[in-house]
C-alpha cells in the first residue's frame, strides 16, 4: 500500500520533473480514476479522455496543491466532475435518449464475453452483480492494483479510511460464501 509519505516523495520528484516518479504516480492512481469515471456511466473512450484531462488540469495546479492527500483528492474530485459534465452533455445531445439509456446500463459494465473463459467466470459474475455497489467498486479496484492505497480509495468512494480493510474482507467473504454454496462453482 502506498503511504502518504511515499506518494509525497513521488509528488515532490514529479514536480521537479522526474519522469519515472510521474510514471509511478500515474500508474498508482489511474485504476481508481478509471473506476470513478466509469462509475459515472461513461463509455471507455470518454472515461479515458476524462482521466487524461484531469491529469492535464492537475499539472496546471501542481504548484498550489501541496500535500499528497490534497493531490489525490483533487484528482478524484476533478475526474468525477468532468465525467459528470461529459455525461450530462451526452444526454442533452441525444434528444431521443438513446445514449442515455445505453449509458445507464453501462454503469455496471459487463465483462467482455471473450474473457469469460470458463464456467467459473460466469458463476462469479452472477454472484458479483448482486453485491452492493460499494462492494463491487471496492473489489474492482483492489483487484486492479497490487498495492491499493486506502486513502485514495476512501476519497474516491466516500468511505471512512478505517472501514476499507474490514469492508473489503466482508465483501470478499460474502462472495466466497456464495461461490462455495453454488454447485456450478464446485463442479467446474
Amino acid at each position: 500500500m502506498w503511504s502518504d509519505a511515499e506518494l509525497g516523495t513521488l509528488l515532490e520528484r514529479a514536480r521537479d520533473g522526474d519522469r519515472e516518479s510521474l510514471r509511478e504516480l500515474v500508474r498508482a492512481l489511474n485504476p481508481v480514476l478509471w473506476r470513478v469515471a466509469r462509475g459515472q456511466g461513461l463509455g471507455t473512450e470518454d472515461a479515458a479522455d476524462v482521466v487524461q484531462t484531469s491529469w492535464l488540469e492537475l499539472l496546471r495546479r501542481l504548484h498550489e496543491i501541496r500535500t499528497p492527500r490534497a493531490v489525490t483528492a483533487w484528482l478524484i474530485t476533478t475526474t468525477r466532475r468532468e465525467a459528470w459534465h461529459r455525461q450530462q452533455r451526452a444526454r442533452r445531445d441525444v434528444p431521443d435518449g438513446g445514449i442515455a439509456v445505453e449509458a445507464a446500463v453501462d454503469t455496471e459494465p459487463a465483462p467482455d464475453e471473450r474473457l469469460m473463459t470458463d464456467e467459473r467466470d460466469r458463476v462469479l459474475w452472477r454472484h458479483f452483480q448482486v453485491l452492493s455497489q460499494r462492494c463491487r467498486d471496492l473489489l474492482r479496484v483492489v483487484a486492479q492494483v497490487d498495492r491499493p492505497d486506502y486513502t485514495v480509495i476512501a476519497e474516491a468512494f466516500g468511505m471512512p479510511h478505517g472501514s476499507i480493510g474490514p469492508t473489503r474482507s466482508r465483501c470478499l467473504a460474502k462472495l466466497r460464501a456464495a461461490l462455495l454454496a453454488d454447485p456450478v462453482w464446485g463442479a467446474s
Binding site: 510521474l22 479522455d49 491529469w55 496546471r60 465483462p111 467482455d112 474492482r140 483487484a143 480493510g165 466466497r176
Partner: protein, 146 residues
C-alpha cells in the same frame, strides 16, 4: 487489519480484474499528454466526436476540442496508404502556429493556420498525437488516438 488472502481469494480477484480494466495504454496516453504540458497552458476538452462518415470510399471523423480561449475542430481522414490527413479549423479565427506532437523519436509536425483559421497536416501516421496551438495562452489537447 485485512485478513491475508488465500488461493481462492486470489483466484476471485484475478477474475474480477478482467471485468473492466483501464485500457492498457491509458498510462501511456496520460504521460504522453503530460510530457509537454506546462503550467501556463490551457487544456482543451474533447467536446464532440462524430462517428465515421463515409465519403467516397474514405473514412473520416470529426473531433472538436473546447478550451476557454479557443475551439479546435479537426477532421481525420483515412488515406488509402494507411496514413491520415488532418483538416483543422481554429475559432476564433487566427493565423497561429499549430503543432502536432508525436511520440518520440518522431519529430513534431508544425503548420501555420491561414487567415481563415484553417490548417492541414497530411501524411500523419496512426497512433498517439497531441495538438498544441501556439497562441496566448497556449492551448493543448489531450492525447488523441489517430
Amino acid at each position: 487489519m485485512t485478513d491475508p488472502l488465500d488461493d481462492l481469494d486470489r483466484d476471485i480477484l484475478h477474475r474480477i480484474a478482467r471485468y473492466d480494466p483501464p485500457p492498457p495504454d491509458l498510462d501511456e496516453r496520460v504521460l504522453f499528454a503530460l510530457a509537454l504540458t506546462g503550467l501556463e497552458d490551457e487544456v482543451a476538452r474533447l467536446a464532440e466526436s462524430a462517428a465515421p462518415a463515409a465519403r467516397a470510399g474514405e473514412r473520416a471523423r470529426t473531433i472538436t476540442f473546447d478550451a476557454t480561449s479557443r475551439t479546435v475542430m479537426i477532421t481525420v481522414l483515412e488515406r488509402p496508404d494507411g496514413l491520415v490527413r488532418l483538416d483543422g479549423w481554429l475559432a476564433p479565427v487566427a493565423a497561429l502556429t499549430v503543432e502536432l506532437r508525436l511520440p518520440s523519436p518522431a519529430p513534431a509536425r508544425t503548420v501555420t493556420a491561414d487567415e481563415s483559421g484553417r490548417f492541414v497536416l497530411d501524411g500523419v501516421p496512426h497512433g498517439l498525437a497531441q495538438l498544441v496551438i501556439h497562441g496566448t495562452p497556449r492551448v493543448v489537447t489531450p492525447s488523441l488516438l489517430l
